[in-house]
Symmetry: C2
């Protein structure tokens, strides 16, 4: 622990994804992961949330939109994540999802899961959503995945095909758990090694403050 | 042409995706495709657009939200596509993206591209966005993909890494072209066979009315 008192807390999109995926990774090893995010305003701070609300009022009133935080219209719009662009064409947020996953899973250079991410900000207030496509080293069935997710710490399974009821950002807002659903065998991959799923997690809680507290509690 | 006068028009998410992907498919053959959509209210009709606007006003006023079209809150929220769920856990919209792609590309059973889709509705008025991950049979470089997209009919390339300026639904709204950007080599796939990209297209124009007119013009 030392004297520093600094707690390293992971990127919000990464930790929300890994709460959903780690139980499956432990069972069948993720070989490759393709993730697309639907990220909330809160990840860009309180000013971004306030501007989304203000812009939305202005659009509905037919007024010109105030563009101070992002420099363009966010209300009723979505855009590629505003973090700095890297030389490889990925933005910093996307590369965090790659590097921090390797770090959290403790993967050495020889055994890193292959990951690609596309990070997008959507006009939602405080919970991120993610569409995740997985390729495993070993076959893993839909029912086994559901069983693992049902028993996983920090996961609320919301996967009701009959009622077309799956996680939404509003379900996750103000909650500690990451909500997971749309768990299904991937029809594009043979041999039962592919799964698709969708998750939502509160960016302010699990994506930031709650997770820091949970790490501190584990340390102390 | 016969006497029927019926024009078969593809699914909106499918045609917007294929305007972006077909030029690359012709050059290097798509082996596998993973797509996540960010779909606008207009795909669910005028009543859905009106309800999104009404709900947004109600949320901002702190009033209870009217829930007639979808039965839950759409304003400042997103949700799994509202089309009927299929036995395999995919919804109908997702399976249209699979089947109609095979049909439009004229692929026989032995040579079908493997496709998985996750369709999500976001609180946007009239243009769909899609995050697309591609695996090709032959290597295709980022610069070759950009060159092909620049010359492609119906595509506007908007891919400015320096200014972090990429397609948004508002760019595409009211336009005939599909806007394509975030074209980059996929770091999760070795051998130069992987690409990621992001596109936006007007659901009412290219996703429906414009496309029907274009098909009719070709026929006549």
């Amino acid at each position: 622990l030392g004297n520093g008192g600094i707690i390293a807390n992971p990127n919000c999109s990464t930790i929300i994804m890994l709460i959903a995926v780690t139980p499956l990774h432990r069972a069948a090893n993720v070989k490759r992961m393709v993730v697309s995010t639907y990220q909330a305003a809160s990840g860009a701070g309180a000013a971004a949330m306030a501007e989304l609300e203000q812009q939305t009022r202005e659009v509905l009133a037919g007024d010109p939109v105030t563009q101070e935080v992002f420099g363009f219209q966010y209300a009723f719009n979505l855009f590629s994540h505003n973090s700095p662009m890297q030389d490889n064409g990925y933005n910093q947020e996307e590369m965090k999802m790659v590097h921090e996953t390797h770090k959290i899973w403790g993967q050495s250079d020889e055994h890193k899961s292959a990951i690609t991410a596309t990070c997008v900000r959507v006009p939602i207030m405080r919970a991120h959503a993610e569409s995740i496509n997985l390729t495993f080293e070993k076959p893993i069935s839909e029912s086994e995945a559901v069983r693992l997710l049902k028993g996983a710490l920090g996961v609320s399974l919301l996967d009701d095909r009959g009622d077309n009821r799956f996680p939404t950002p509003l379900d996750a807002s103000g909650k500690d758990d990451v909500f997971v659903g749309r768990v299904r065998g991937d029809i594009s991959q043979p041999g039962g090694v592919g799964l698709d799923l969708f998750c939502c997690g509160d960016q302010i809680r699990k994506g930031a403050a709650l997770n820091a507290i949970q790490i501190a509690e584990l340390l102390l």
